[in-house]
């Protein structure tokens, strides 16, 4: 009789397993024009990569996928509220986020860098030296997208060295702010920077300073899941390992990027 609760739990968990067959997947869209409930519209390389990876994982765990493109800011709350089962938002794993959602095994690794217009870069290089790093930068306005790890980091640094943080709703908006001179630098993950800068005209923006290696800005990127979906997390991890070991992962990377993500 002691095992009765466990048996009941097992039966209760079966329907939740059954509805795993239909997965709602959120993919971060960095271009707001791509944000649409149907997941249509223009996609950038990173969104396309995430979507391909999501579909491949779904295929491996025998689930049907409904992919929705949403903005980065909506993703964590959406996963937390269980509006989506999987979130591909290029999330670095941090303790604060771990309290809200669950993380899969890492899918790739990333670091962050500062981007500016060449004019601003020259000005700061002349004032503070070419090899100035983020923690020694002074009197700069740095833009970041709220909810991102970069934004969180900048808020922690605000006031020190005369740094101010400017919030932008999307990466497109952030680049616009740089272009308009409303901000000096944009702190963003490298892969996103690659995707965004690839669309801009050559010579419009350039990287400034060394890669940022501060805690929380460099590390592995994970798929996020609601905390309740432990079975799904296990299945996703198994699918990721299988993808890596049979080379499918690298084929998907090659389809979208001319370099390795690992």
């Amino acid at each position: 009789m002691r095992f009765l609760p466990f048996v009941l739990l097992l039966f209760l968990s079966l329907p939740s397993f059954a509805h795993v067959q239909e997965l709602r997947i959120a993919v971060g869209a960095y271009d707001e024009r791509a944000v649409s409930p149907a997941g249509g519209g223009r996609r950038n390389a990173l969104s396309a990569f995430n979507e391909d990876l999501a579909r491949e994982i779904c295929r491996r765990i025998n689930a049907r996928c409904r992919v929705t493109g949403i903005s980065f800011g909506e993703m964590l709350p959406g996963i937390e509220a269980q509006k989506f089962e999987l979130g591909f938002g290029n999330f670095l794993r941090t303790p604060e986020r771990e309290e809200r959602v669950a993380f899969s095994d890492p899918i790739w690794r990333s670091s962050s860098r500062l981007v500016s217009t060449p004019a601003t870069a020259r000005r700061f290089a002349a004032e503070q030296g070419k090899e100035v790093a983020l923690d020694s930068l002074r009197n700069a306005r740095i833009v970041a997208v709220p909810e991102t790890q970069q934004y969180r980091y900048l808020q922690g640094q605000a006031g020190r060295n005369g740094l101010t943080t400017v919030a932008a709703n999307s990466y497109v908006e952030a680049f616009a702010l740089l272009r308009e001179g409303m901000a000096d630098f944009f702190l963003l993950p490298m892969l996103s920077a690659y995707v965004q800068l690839g669309r801009e005209e050559a010579g419009q923006f350039e990287f400034f300073g060394a890669p940022v290696t501060e805690n929380g800005l460099v590390g592995s990127v994970h798929i996020v899941l609601p905390k309740a979906e432990e079975t799904l997390r296990y299945a996703v991890n198994k699918a990721i390992a299988a993808l890596r070991s049979d080379g499918s992962y690298h084929r998907i990377v090659r389809r979208h990027f001319p370099f390795s993500l690992e």
């Binding site: 490298m190 920077a193 690659y194 690839g198 050559a202 010579g203 990287f207 890669p211 370099f259």
Partner: protein, 426 residues
């Protein structure tokens, strides 16, 4: 066994239990050592699988990323459009900022240097169209350093496996040696076991088997060398005791046989035994046509003696006569108490004439023989005797003839010997 364990003697069960215990301990120790080696192999291989191989993969990826850095640099120099250059410089920046490069200090430094160099050339090219050509030699040197680093990183990764693999092979070699030693130990123990089994169980059992099948009263008791095994020793002692009791039984049997053939009062052969022996003698004599004579004797007036002196006196007289007969008769002659005061004789290898002389001498001896009774009185008893030739008739007939001769002797006045043949001729 005694020389092995220093004991005077030892129980077989204890000896084999001790041997088995030593064997199990030794073999167990060997197996434990082999198991420990196996554990080392398992640990090393799981370390290889779980830690070293991922590390090697990381090194390989780092090498690939550095190689890509070099290639993108080349692409930057080779590119003819600014768009292509932009793309190349993006990838250079991206790769040099990738965590895999950043976490390896030497690579991080060289990658950063490469990126700075290429960005600087790119910047100069905006104003100076010969910037790329001017800095190509510098780039060649940087590219060569990148190439060297790629090789170093690849080899560093592969070297990681070497430690684990040499640990595995060392453990395997040791395990092989230990297994061989274990096999030798098992073999030695088996040989020792067989030798001990043969020397202390099989051989003694074979000796015991031989001794038992040869055991008999007419043979001496089997001799055993002192056995170290208590159990074997006990069996051997039991065989000795068995032999002794066989001999006792034989002696008792012989005593009983004597008793059964003797007359209780006189100690002479009884009638039953006499008849058997006499029949055999008679048949032998008749087969070889040898002379043989039988006789019947009776004490004269024995009934009056009994009546006068009592039965005890009669018994004493009978005993005295029996002693006298045994003293007088030859070794080959035989006498028995035929019943009451009657005696029967058989004289092998004797003709009637010889027998008659002998009987006459005996009769005379009896007639002069004083018998002292228990109360000190002396009595003298005569005897009458009938003889008959037995060489041509069965014992019963011969005895009947002798009895008739005895009757004749009685009739003629007692204290005389009458020969049946004479009787027959008359």
């Amino acid at each position: 066994m005694s020389s092995l364990f220093g004991f005077k003697s030892i129980r077989a069960g204890h000896a084999f239990a001790l041997l088995a215990a030593v064997f199990v301990l030794t073999f167990g120790l060997m197996v434990t050592l082999v198991v420990l080696d196996q554990q080392r192999v398992i640990n090393a291989t799981s370390r290889l699988q779980e830690q070293t191989v991922p590390k090697i993969i990381r090194y390989q990826r780092l090498a690939r990323n550095l190689e890509q850095l070099r290639q993108e640099g080349e692409r930057l120099f080779a590119a003819s459009t600014s768009q292509a250059r932009q793309q190349a410089i993006f990838v250079v920046t991206l790769v040099s900022s990738h965590p895999s490069v950043l976490e390896h200090p030497e690579s991080a430094q060289l990658a950063r240097q490469t990126e700075r160099f290429l960005v600087e050339v790119m910047r100069q090219s905006a104003t100076d169209s010969r910037a790329f050509a001017a800095s190509y030699d510098d780039w060649q040197r940087l590219a060569a350093r990148l190439g060297l680093l790629v090789d170093d990183v690849s080899i560093q990764g592969i070297n990681l496996a070497h430690g684990d693999l040499s640990d595995v092979s060392a453990a395997m070699r040791q395990a092989r040696i230990k297994l061989t030693v274990a096999l030798v130990v098992v073999g030695l123990f088996l040989v020792l076991f067989l030798v001990l089994l043969r020397a202390h169980l099989i051989h003694p059992l074979q000796r015991i088997d031989r001794a038992l099948s040869n055991l008999g009263v007419d043979r001496p008791a089997p001799e055993f060398k002192a056995s170290a095994m208590v159990e074997i020793h006990a069996v051997e002692e039991a065989i000795g005791e068995l032999h002794a009791s066989l001999q006792q039984n034989e002696e008792a049997r012989q005593a009983l046989e004597k008793l059964a053939n003797k007359d209780g009062l006189t100690g002479l052969t009884n009638r039953r035994h006499f008849m058997l022996t006499a029949d055999a003698e008679l048949q032998r004599a008749q087969r070889y046509q040898r002379p043989i004579t039988v006789g019947m004797a009776d004490l004269d007036f024995f009934k009056q003696l009994n009546d006068t002196y009592g039965h005890a006196a009669g018994d004493a007289v009978l005993r005295a006569y029996a002693g006298l007969m045994l003293d007088t008769l030859r070794q080959s002659d035989m006498v028995c108490r035929y019943g009451g005061e009657e005696f029967a004789f058989i004289f092998p290898e004797s003709t009637l004439a010889e027998t008659e002389k002998l009987a006459e001498r005996f009769r005379a001896l009896c007639a002069d023989y004083d018998i002292r009774l228990a109360d000190g009185r002396l009595v003298r008893v005569t005897m009458s005797m009938g003889l008959a030739d037995a060489s041509d008739c069965p014992i019963e007939i011969a005895l009947k003839r002798a009895d008739e001769a005895l009757y004749e002797a009685k009739h003629q006045g007692r204290n005389r010997v009458v020969v049946a043949q004479a009787l027959a001729r008359r």
